[in-house]
């Protein structure tokens, strides 16, 4: 069996990895220059508990189950995951009935550990919270992660189990004959296939169209964020939510894995064509600031190191579209909006184990390795291990990114594992992700990329395509 997964986001990556548990040839196609650069790159990075979801829906089930799977998955794939817990905060007595509703909804969804906390408790635990807060719904199973790291680790683990990765290779058409998938065409060539899994994120409707399907229709909804550097210190300890509105979960204040704070997202509906409109706007950033300050009034914006936007792939009825289609061999995991990051492990498991395996008659492999070691930050290693690494390769002692203490050794390893440009190195190692945002290390990383890839420095790009960094040589 030859199976292609289209889309190297969190969903496609985990599906591809899951498929490598079975006897089959699995190919993963990603149009961007690296894994996890679509919706997976720009979101709140929260592993939700599930109290926001309507009881009885597929989304609620997959979210709660996904949350449960994160513990083991993050351990197996060596990816950071912290159960920091979350508060949904009522800022006035008027909001208390809504909080109670969420509590009951959470209970019905099977969200573990929910508790109602009074003002005294929440302000003791979150002293920087708005002092007008009247109560908080505590959801201890809520966690934070690094979405792109999970996607990369899933793909790397998949590759250890035989997955063939095709990055910077866009699928442009799907061949269907007699109601059955025959293959695909990409910018690089044609592939004969038995099955295709559409996990193309925001573009999953275009991929469905390639197979002749008119559903789903995906509409982008922009969410803008501000990121505060870890210098801000322990200002909050859990994820803070307002009571939700009809459109979204509202503007949050969330700790990030590396100690910073994320403010956002806004929610702005865009036209179907605006799938690359991930620019920030004056209005959006302002709205994110105001929303965040309602929860945490004393936020110091001098710690902002970047603003960015993500696009939610929204279906009109807000449902995930997961499963087989009218075309034999064409499967979908589309319309994976929030809480898609949370649900991704359970989506992958459900789609592969409960649908694809049966339809394609796949048999399990004996030799699947489920654990993987990601590029560990060398300074997080125990000192003895660090000493051994440096002794074996002195590049592990040469710190390139002074903010996040990333060494040349880690950067070289990231390049050898597939980073092809500055963003590739940044998302795989955190080099250039700190308070100076690459101001002091971009040139060093660029030169290492050029050396390792055996290209000229002026051919190195920021993120593939035409995003070259340099303009040419200084005349001598």
């Amino acid at each position: 069996m030859r199976i292609a997964v289209i889309g190297g986001g969190i969903v496609g990556s985990l599906i591809a990895r899951e498929l490598t548990r079975y006897e089959s040839a699995v190919l993963l196609f990603e149009k961007e220059a690296d894994i996890g650069w679509g919706v997976t790159k720009a979101n709140s990075a929260i592993v939700h508990g599930g109290l926001h979801e309507t009881p009885g829906t597929e989304r609620a089930r997959l979210c709660v189950e996904g949350n449960r799977l994160y513990e083991e998955l993050s351990r197996d794939l060596d990816v950071p995951f912290k159960r920091v817990g979350a508060y949904v905060v009522a800022l006035s007595h008027k909001e208390l009935p809504l909080l109670q509703e969420l509590y009951e909804q959470g209970l019905r969804n099977g969200v573990p550990g929910l508790e109602m906390h009074d003002r005294g408790t929440i302000l003791t635990r979150e002293p920087n919270l708005n002092p007008n807060a009247v109560a908080g719904l505590w959801s201890p199973s809520v966690g934070i992660t690094e979405p792109w790291s999970l996607a990369i680790a899933a793909v790397e683990n998949g590759m250890e189990n035989g997955l063939a990765l095709h990055v910077a290779e866009e699928v442009t058409s799907i061949e269907v004959a007699d109601g059955r998938v025959q293959g695909i065409v990409t910018g690089e060539g044609e592939y004969e296939l038995d099955a295709v899994v559409n996990a193309a994120g925001l573009f999953a409707d275009r991929v469905a169209e390639m197979a002749g399907l008119l559903e789903p229709v995906l509409l982008p909804c922009r969410g803008e964020y501000l990121l505060l550097d870890k210098k801000v210190g322990n200002f909050i300890s859990s994820a803070l939510f307002p009571t939700p509105n009809k459109l979204s979960k509202g503007i949050l204040v969330v700790p990030t894995i590396d100690g910073g704070i994320l403010l956002g997202p806004t929610a702005q509906d865009l036209n179907r064509e605006e799938k690359e409109a991930n620019e920030t706007t004056r209005h959006g950033v302002q709205e994110a600031i105001e929303g965040a300050r309602r929860l945490v009034p004393q936020l110091d914006l001098s710690f902002v190191v970047k603003t960015f936007a993500g696009l939610r792939p929204e279906t009109t009825d807000k449902k995930f579209v997961i499963g087989r289609t009218s075309i034999i061999g064409f499967f979908q995991a589309a319309g994976i909006r929030s809480p898609g990051l949370t649900a991704a492990p359970s989506i992958a498991r459900f789609l592969v184990r409960d649908v694809i395996v049966g339809d394609l008659n796949l048999t399990g492999k004996r030799s699947f390795t489920s654990t993987h070691h990601k590029i560990r930050k060398i300074l997080d290693l125990p000192v003895e291990e660090r000493d051994r690494l440096i002794e074996a390769d002195s590049r592990y002692g040469r710190i390139i990114c002074q903010c996040n203490h990333v060494t040349e050794g880690e950067i070289v390893r990231a390049i050898h594992r597939g980073a092809r440009n500055l963003d590739g190195v940044k998302f795989r190692t955190c080099a250039g992700f700190g308070r100076c945002q690459g101001g002091s290390c971009t040139d060093k990383i660029l030169l290492i990329l050029a050396r390792e890839l055996e290209i000229s420095p002026d051919e190195v790009t920021l993120r593939g395509g035409d995003s070259t960094i340099l303009g040419g040589k200084v005349r001598t």
Partner: protein
């Protein structure tokens, strides 16, 4: 892992650190994270350095070379390519990592001289996508002067600090087109001589009271929109102008680098560096500081002088010879933004470094009621140095508190 016990450890091998280590002398170790010492001097190949210290006009690397000579003669040890990653302030014990492995140092005194980093583009919260082609000025300078590559073809420069001005000239001379230098304040951020020599001499326009409102381009930058700003620096609707450029260079400020000492060292929130007395001793007795991590200085000559003071004081402290004295607090008064030091010590040669928050013609600088000095013009872009004579110092240190202010003359 290697262990070292030293009298003085200097962290950072830029101008401040080199001068500090040179004046602290034997039994001193200097750690530099880059492959070579010199810091930003290495990338500043233009002239204008050393007029005060060496009475000569030198390039950055030449100035660095002189300091290196002084450093070598001092017999201080230098280890480069080695980054300090942690400081245990009880002890103190300093942990560093380099290609030779881990290094643990127990110094009697430490001079913190890590300089400053450039404020990143992201902190401006500029609307738009995030294309390639946006550089901080120092990064662009390294690409051009050290690595031999141009950042693009047509540039707009945001911020008229000295590095921005110097880069405008450099890029112009290397054949790039420099569309304009854009400055949000009503006056230039850099030295007047740089405005003249870097912009006016080459007809590069300087647009004051303008800010950036949007960047354009998905892969590579294709343009930048700027607008005039009002008094509260908000863009004025209708005043937008578009520049088709593929390069945006930012000279929007330097941020003192104090990450590792922050947890245990009192900081002056305006200077954004540690509070120091006139011996460059912080409020942690064994910790001294010098250079742009204390406050952003204008001239490397000043930085080297401050470094020397810090190094000499640290060496005295390590030998138990630095007198524990009563301190006189210096307090910011009218029109004083940056002020170093935060307190005065009796008997030592004392210089005050201050920066005003708004320009005045015919100004008077007051240090308590002891010193009043006329100054024909004061500008935020030009740091004021007040050398305090010994007799005046004796008067000043009798008080608990001395106010420093700059008034209309």
């Amino acid at each position: 892992m290697r262990e070292k016990v030293v009298d003085v450890l200097v962290v950072g091998g830029g101008a401040a650190g080199m001068a500090a280590a040179a004046s602290a002398g034997a039994q001193t170790l200097l750690l530099e994270c880059d492959a070579e010492v010199g810091g930003v001097l290495n990338q500043c190949i233009h002239t204008g350095f050393g007029l005060h210290r060496y009475r000569e006009e030198l390039t950055g690397p030449e100035f660095g070379h002189r300091l290196l000579g002084e450093l070598e003669r001092s017999r201080a040890e230098v280890i480069s390519g080695c980054t300090v990653i942690d400081i245990e302030h009880h002890g103190p014990v300093v942990h560093a990592v380099g290609p030779e492995g881990r290094l643990r140092i127990r110094p009697k005194a430490l001079v913190w001289a890590t300089g400053a980093g450039e404020r990143p583009f992201g902190s401006l919260m500029t609307p738009g996508p995030r294309p390639a082609g946006i550089f901080t000025a120092g990064l662009a300078q390294r690409f051009v002067n050290i690595h031999g590559f141009l950042p693009g073809k047509r540039a707009l420069i945001l911020g008229s600090g000295d590095i921005g001005l110097i880069m405008a000239r450099r890029l112009h001379l290397e054949g790039m087109e420099v569309a304009a230098v854009v400055e949000v304040q009503p006056f230039p951020g850099g030295l007047t001589r740089n405005v003249v020599q870097c912009l006016e001499d080459y007809n590069i326009p300087l647009l004051l009271c303008h800010g950036i409102t949007e960047v354009h381009g998905r892969d590579r930058l294709t343009g930048v929109t700027i607008a005039q700003v009002d008094k509260s620096r908000l863009p004025i609707a209708g005043s937008e102008r578009h520049f088709a450029v593929d390069t945006l260079i930012l000279s929007i400020g330097l941020i003192p680098e104090n990450e590792l000492i922050l947890p245990f060292t009192p900081i002056d929130p305006v200077n954004r560096g540690p509070r120091v007395n006139s011996l460059m001793q912080t409020e942690v007795p064994w910790l001294f500081a010098a250079g742009n991590n204390v406050v952003i200085f204008d001239l490397v000559d000043t930085v080297a002088a401050v470094g020397e003071m810090a190094g000499a004081s640290a060496a005295l402290y390590a030998r138990g010879e630095l007198p524990q004295e009563r301190l006189t607090r210096l307090v910011r008064g009218e029109n004083v933004l940056h002020l170093v030091p935060s307190s005065l010590v009796a008997e030592s040669p004392t210089v005050l470094y201050l920066r005003v928050s708004r320009p005045i013609n015919a100004a008077m600088v007051h240090v308590g009621d002891v010193i009043s000095r006329k100054q024909s013009v004061v500008r935020p872009s030009e740091m004021i140095e007040i050398h305090i004579p010994q007799d005046a110092l004796r008067e000043l240190v009798k008080k608990d508190e001395v106010h420093v202010k700059v008034t209309e003359g």
